[in-house]
């Protein structure tokens, strides 16, 4: 029973350790030593793209957003109070960034609304804004949270939008994770292999019991042998003709019903 549990636990530990190690190594290589996570999307749209606080303001580090228009186009990018951004975009058609996907480092989005967006640049509600031909980069500082970022391409489409977050501790955590996974993997393997080693080592050599002298014929008494000639402690009943030694223990798994061959009690019973 214990051997089976050990084997299962060892296998589980090894698998979990392997998975954690792989994940840790993958994250470490993806994030780099700087711990920079970069998420991107390619909306190819002229509609405003809205990135809310549920994406921008969930970390303590600054978030750097870069918008790139198609060739020849320009980009307007601005930060506002979330309610202000919602009000100015209104019900017009726009793309909302809803989250990120770590698997492919992508920004997740959905398109909602109908109609053309108003002239966003005319509004006097932006906390920070920039517009230029070519790529525009804006840094979201968490001290100003919550904020919503609105991006709109002009004279072309929005080719790409990237969001970059740098947290050095992420790389450290990835490495630590990989090491923990490695440890679990080793422990699991040791548990698996240690079972066999320990099993063979546990096969104890049974002490050989002193074999009483075999009488010539079972059930007969030598008339010359005085009964109780010694100190009177000798048995007065006939001894068995033979002493049968138990069969040698094999490496077969234990069962609940079979006697444990390693148990001295079982042997001498």
């Amino acid at each position: 029973m214990a051997t089976i549990v050990k084997r299962v636990v060892g296998a589980l530990l090894a698998l979990v350790g392997l998975a954690i190690t792989a994940a840790g190594v993958w994250f470490a290589t993806q994030l780099g030593t700087s711990g920079t996570a970069e998420f991107a999307m390619h909306p190819a749209t002229t509609d405003p793209v809205v990135v809310g606080p549920e994406v921008l303001n969930r970390v303590d580090a600054d978030v750097v957003v870069t918008a790139t228009p198609t060739e020849g186009g320009s980009v307007f990018m601005a930060l506002a109070n979330p309610s202000d951004a919602t009000a100015v975009v209104g019900a017009s058609q726009h793309v909302t960034v809803t989250g990120v996907s770590v698997r492919d480092w992508a920004l997740l989005s959905r398109t909602t609304g109908t109609g053309t967006a108003p002239d966003l640049g005319a509004a006097d509600l932006w906390r920070q804004q920039d517009d230029a031909k070519g790529p525009v980069t804006l840094t979201v500082q968490q001290s100003e949270a919550p904020e919503t970022l609105v991006v709109k391409a002009e004279g072309g489409q929005l080719s790409s939008l990237t969001m970059e977050v740098t947290d050095k501790s992420w790389f450290v955590e990835a490495v630590v994770g990989a090491l923990i996974g490695l440890f679990l993997l080793v422990v699991g393997v040791v548990l698996l292999t240690a079972r066999r080693t320990r099993h063979h080592g546990d096969v104890a050599v049974q002490p050989v019991q002193p074999v009483p002298p075999v009488p010539d014929a079972a059930g007969t008494i030598d008339p010359d042998q005085p009964v109780g000639a010694g100190d009177g402690s000798e048995p007065t009943v006939p001894l068995p003709a033979t002493v049968v030694s138990p069969p040698e223990a094999t490496a077969a798994p234990d069962t609940t019903d079979s006697p444990d061959p390693h148990d001295p009690e079982e042997v001498t019973r």
Partner: protein
């Protein structure tokens, strides 16, 4: 040699405990993942505050004040459109009237530095319309100006809705902490005051009427503006003598009025009055010869029956929570007239 018994029970317990702990960690990983990478919920937005920070509001005010005085090219239509980009409400009405009267686009070509605005208050909350109350000091005349700027809709920029010079020694009570914002009030409602701001302006207008105003205890009518109007009217009446009579009325025009709540529960209102001076020529007079200013405005030098002159009067009136209100700033501008 006695064989060592296997620690079956103890080992089993340890293994089960370890497996359980590991499983718990793996399963809980889904919940602790956010904490591990430092993710937390985004902070909630504080909506009961000024919509812009001090820097943003100052930038808006500075931009508008600079644009207001910027020279405008093109014809009268282009100039009117340019004014509408910067001004709205009473300020636009006054500026358009001024441009019509002058016949040239408003603006200055002087290279003097624009006075830097000081943000006195912003409207409170995230709703529209929004307003900024700013002040500037005209160092040439040592006059403090109050400017109310308004954004009516989310996609519309702020525009100057009223600019009024303060009287010397006049005081605008505090509107509260700037970033907290000051609530905008409905001018027609009492808002916990003795009378509504609209009623206060109306009472003030009635008190200024000539030849006999209507006394009121709602608002004081002894400020510089009221005094100078009375003095000028008296001088005019005296000059006319037996040749004519002067009647002067003030009509509140509060469609675009803006009222901020003061920190002490009072209110400050930017309003507009239209003043009408009517000079009736008595039968004993053959005609009245107009001064050059009026002659240019009317396009005639004499009138035989009557002369009507229209002025626009932006005012700022402060009402305390209790007690008498007081006008702290005003100006008037002759905008049109007709004569017979």
């Amino acid at each position: 040699m006695t064989p060592r018994p296997l620690p079956t029970t103890r080992t089993l317990s340890r293994l089960v405990a370890s497996t359980t702990l590991l499983g718990a960690l793996v399963l809980a990983g889904c919940g602790t993942q956010d904490a591990l990478v430092g993710l937390h919920p985004a902070p909630a937005e504080q909506t009961a505050a000024a919509p812009l920070d001090a820097e943003g509001a100052t930038a808006v005010a500075a931009r508008l004040l600079a644009a207001k005085d910027a020279p405008v090219g093109g014809d009268a239509k282009a100039a009117k459109a340019a004014r509408a980009e910067v001004l709205t409400g009473d300020a636009l009405r006054v500026a358009d009237a001024q441009a019509t009267r002058a016949g040239t686009p408003a603006g200055t070509t002087e290279l003097a530095a624009e006075p830097q605005p000081t943000i006195v208050a912003q409207s409170q909350g995230r709703q529209w319309p929004r307003a900024i109350l700013a002040s500037t000091l005209d160092e040439a005349t040592n006059t403090q100006w109050l400017h109310a700027m308004v954004s009516d809709k989310p996609d519309q920029p702020f525009r100057i809705a009223s600019s009024v010079p303060m009287f010397g020694g006049a005081e605008l009570p505090a509107l509260g902490e700037q970033l907290a914002g000051a609530p905008l009030l409905d001018t027609a409602q009492k808002n916990g005051l003795a009378v509504s701001p609209a009623a206060a302006v109306k009472a003030y207008a009635a008190a200024l009427a000539q030849p006999k105003g209507k006394a009121t205890d709602v608002v004081a009518a002894d400020d510089q503006f009221a005094t100078s109007l009375k003095t000028a009217a008296a001088a005019q009446a005296k000059a006319l003598g037996k040749l004519g009579t002067l009647a002067q009325t003030h009509d509140p025009q509060l469609d675009d009025a803006i009222t901020f709540k003061l920190a002490d529960g009072g209110a400050v209102t930017f309003g507009l009055m239209k003043r009408t001076d009517t000079i009736s020529v008595k039968p004993t007079a053959k005609e009245l010869v107009l001064p050059a200013e009026y002659a240019k405005l009317l396009g005639k030098k004499k009138v035989t029956k009557s002369l009507v002159l229209n002025n626009l009067e932006p005012i700022v009136i402060v009402q305390p929570k209790t007690g008498q209100g007081r006008v702290i700033g005003a100006s008037d501008l002759l905008v049109s007239g007709r004569g017979r």
